[in-house]
C-alpha cells in the first residue's frame, strides 16, 4: 500500500479550528467558500511533510491570533508501518519535528520522508513570473529525493552570502586569495547542484510533454530549456572572468543563483504567447511531471495537494483531469474546490476511494 496520511489533528494553525480529521487513502476533497480554510488544510499537510508552510515561511505568522503556539500531528501509513508525525512551533519553544517520538536533529533529516507535491493558483507565477520561483520549484522537488542536493544547496547559499557581503564591504582591492576561496567553494557545491538540476529537467521532459498533450485540448508543441551560466563553460573560469565586474558591481553576477527555465510553446515564450487556459494546462503538466519524477526517484508516490486548480474549468474537464491524475499518480490526493455539488457529482462517476469535506470558518462541518 502506498504512502498516505490517515489522521490529522490541528491546534492553533492559521485560521483553523482545533480538530481531528480522518482521511481516505484515495481522494480527499475540501469544499467551501474562499477564505473558509480549505487551503490552510492543504498547507497543514504540506507542513507535516516539508516542515514549513508553502505560503508563509514565517512560523510566527502561522500561529493563530492570540495564541502562542501551533501543533500539527499526522499519522502516516506506509506498507505495514505507521508514522506519528508532529510539527510544533511556539513563540517560547523551539520548533521541532518528531516522528514516532523521535525528534529530527535537523529539519533536513525529515524532508523527503513523506514526499509531497502541491499545485496552487499562485503557481502560475512559475510560468509568468521571475526566475526565483522556477529555481524554488526545482529545489523543492529535488530536495525531497536527494539529501546531498539539500546539503549542497545550503552550502552554496552560505558561500554566496559571504562572498556578496565581502564584495559589498570592500573599500580597496579584493583579496585574490579570499576570492579564490569563495569561488572554489561555490564550484564545489555548485557542480552537484548543476548536475542534479540538469538531470531533473531531463527526467521530467518526456512525462511533461505527454501530460501536456493529455490535459490540454490543443496540439501545440511545448518544451522547456534549462538556462544556466554553467551551460556555457567551466564554473571556475566563469567566476574568474567575471571577478572584476563582480568587484565593481559588488555582487556575484554569475552562478546557479541565476539559473532559469525557459518555457516555450511553438518556440515562443509561454508567458507571451499562450492563452490563460494553456498556461494553466502547462502548469498542471509541469507539476504532475514533477510528481512522476518524485515517484521515480524516491520510490514513493507523493501526496498530491491540489489547491483550487479546477477553478473556471467545466465539469467534464474536471472529471477528465481527475481520471487522468488517478491514472498517472494513484497516490493519495487532497484537493480544494469551491463547488461541493460538482465534486460530489464527479466522484459519483469516478470510482475511487474518496471523502468529501465541507469546510466553513476553519472547520469541517
Amino acid at each position: 500500500m502506498a504512502l498516505y496520511l490517515h489522521k490529522l489533528s490541528i491546534l492553533n494553525y492559521k485560521n483553523l479550528q482545533p480538530q481531528e480529521l480522518e482521511f481516505s487513502e484515495g481522494f480527499n476533497c475540501f469544499t467551501g467558500k474562499n477564505g473558509s480554510g480549505k487551503t490552510n488544510l492543504l498547507d497543514a499537510v504540506y507542513m507535516l511533510g516539508l516542515t514549513r508552510s508553502y505560503f508563509n515561511h514565517s512560523d510566527a505568522d502561522n500561529v493563530q491570533h492570540h495564541e502562542d503556539f501551533y501543533r500539527l500531528c499526522g499519522t502516516f501509513h506506509e506498507a505495514e508501518n505507521q508514522y506519528v508525525t508532529e510539527v510544533a512551533y511556539g513563540k517560547k519553544q523551539r520548533k521541532f519535528v518528531r516522528v514516532n517520538d523521535e525528534k529530527a536533529k535537523k529539519f533536513s533529516d525529515h524532508i523527503g520522508r513523506f514526499p509531497i507535491l502541491i499545485i496552487t493558483p499562485d503557481d502560475i507565477h512559475l510560468v509568468k513570473g521571475y526566475s526565483e520561483g522556477r529555481r524554488a520549484m526545482m529545489d523543492q522537488v529535488i530536495c525531497q529525493t536527494d539529501r546531498f542536493y539539500l546539503e549542497a544547496l545550503g552550502h552554496y547559499q552560505k558561500v554566496l552570502k559571504q562572498r556578496n557581503q565581502y564584495l559589498k564591504n570592500l573599500e580597496a582591492n579584493a583579496d585574490e586569495d579570499l576570492m579564490d576561496s569563495y569561488d572554489l567553494q561555490l564550484v564545489n557545491s555548485g557542480k552537484l547542484i548543476y548536475e542534479k538540476r540538469s538531470a531533473f529537467l531531463e527526467g521530467i521532459k518526456a512525462p511533461f510533454e505527454a501530460i501536456y498533450k493529455a490535459v490540454s485540448e490543443d496540439n501545440e508543441s511545448v518544451e522547456f530549456i534549462y538556462e544556466s551560466h554553467l551551460n556555457d563553460g567551466d564554473f571556475i573560469e566563469i567566476l574568474k572572468n567575471s571577478r572584476q565586474k563582480d568587484v565593481i558591481t559588488r555582487r556575484t553576477l554569475y552562478g546557479l543563483h541565476k539559473d532559469d527555465i525557459r518555457f516555450e510553446m511553438n518556440q515562443y515564450a509561454v508567458k507571451k504567447m499562450a492563452s490563460q487556459g494553456q498556461q494553466k494546462s502547462f502548469l498542471i503538466a509541469l507539476k504532475l511531471a514533477c510528481a512522476e519524477y518524485l515517484t521515480k526517484s524516491s520510490g514513493k508516490k507523493p501526496i498530491l495537494l491540489l489547491d483550487d486548480i479546477f477553478d473556471k474549468l467545466d465539469q467534464n474537464r474536471v472529471e477528465a483531469l481527475v481520471r487522468f491524475i488517478l491514472n498517472v499518480n494513484a497516490g493519495q490526493v487532497f484537493l480544494s474546490d469551491t463547488d461541493y455539488g460538482r465534486i460530489k457529482r464527479i466522484f459519483e462517476k469516478v470510482k475511487v476511494p474518496h471523502r468529501i469535506f465541507e469546510v466553513s470558518e476553519g472547520k469541517i462541518i
Binding site: 539529501r147 546531498f148 558561500v159 557581503q165 564591504n169 579570499l178 567553494q185
Partner: protein
C-alpha cells in the same frame, strides 16, 4: 520581579547578564551569597576582579596568559615544530585536556565572516604568517570548526603560507570512534569516505 532592596536588585541584574542565567537563578545566587561569611564573598569578588584586571593575552599565540608569554609558549618541553591553529581560547582548553598534543598554539580569534564584519585583518593571521616565517615550524595543524567559514579561513591561510613550504594539515572529519556506521548520518559517512586514510597509518598513529 520586585526587590525589597536596591542593592539586591543591582546584584541580581549583574548575575542575570551571565550566559544561561535568568533572573530566578540570579536571585538564588544572591541569596546564597548573603548567607555566606563576608570574607568568603569578598574572596569571590576579588578573584573575579583580579582575573579581569590581570589577565593578559600571550604576545606570541594570543592564548590567555598570566604574563607576557603564556604557559605553553614559555614551556621549553613543548614541540616548537608543531603549531595548532584554533579559533578561540576555548579550543586551546579543550585540546589541552585531551593530553594528546605537545606542540604550540595560535589563537586566531575567530574565522573570516564578512557578514559578521570579520575580515582577515580582524584576526591574528598576519601574526601567524610571521611566526611560520620566523620560528621553527614544520607543520601547521588547522583545528578550526568544520564549517563553511572555517573552510574559507583554512584555504585563505594555506594560500598565505604557500611560499613557506610548511606542511599544512586539518583535523580528520568523519565517523566518531566507537560509533556505529548505521547511525552515522550520510554526510558524515560521505566525508569520511572522501578523507579516508591508509590502514597502516591508522594503526601506527593510534
Amino acid at each position: 520581579m520586585n526587590f525589597p532592596s536596591k542593592l539586591i536588585e543591582d546584584a541580581v541584574n549583574e548575575f542575570s547578564r551571565l550566559p544561561g542565567v535568568g533572573k530566578k537563578t540570579a536571585l538564588r545566587f544572591v541569596l546564597h551569597l548573603l548567607k555566606k561569611e563576608q570574607s568568603d564573598v569578598l574572596q569571590l569578588s576579588d578573584a573575579i576582579k583580579r582575573m579581569r584586571e590581570e589577565i593578559q593575552y600571550c604576545k606570541i599565540c594570543f592564548n590567555i596568559s598570566d604574563g607576557e608569554k603564556c604557559s605553553v609558549c614559555s614551556n621549553s618541553r613543548r614541540d616548537e615544530r608543531l603549531l595548532c591553529v584554533v579559533e578561540s581560547i576555548k579550543d586551546v582548553i579543550n585540546i589541552e585536556n585531551t593530553n594528546q598534543y605537545n606542540g604550540r598554539y595560535h589563537v586566531l580569534g575567530g574565522v573570516i565572516s564578512p557578514i559578521e564584519g570579520i575580515g582577515p585583518e580582524q584576526l591574528h593571521i598576519d601574526q601567524l604568517i610571521d611566526r611560520v616565517k620566523n620560528e621553527n615550524v614544520e607543520e601547521v595543524i588547522m583545528a578550526l570548526n568544520p564549517t563553511m567559514d572555517g573552510d574559507t579561513t583554512i584555504f585563505f591561510i594555506s594560500r598565505k603560507l604557500a611560499e613557506s613550504k610548511v606542511r599544512i594539515s586539518t583535523l580528520a572529519r568523519g565517523v566518531a570512534f566507537g560509533g556505529d556506521l548505521s547511525y552515522v548520518d550520510e554526510f558524515t559517512l560521505a566525508r569520511s569516505l572522501q578523507t579516508r586514510r591508509p590502514f597502516e597509518s591508522y594503526l601506527s598513529k593510534q
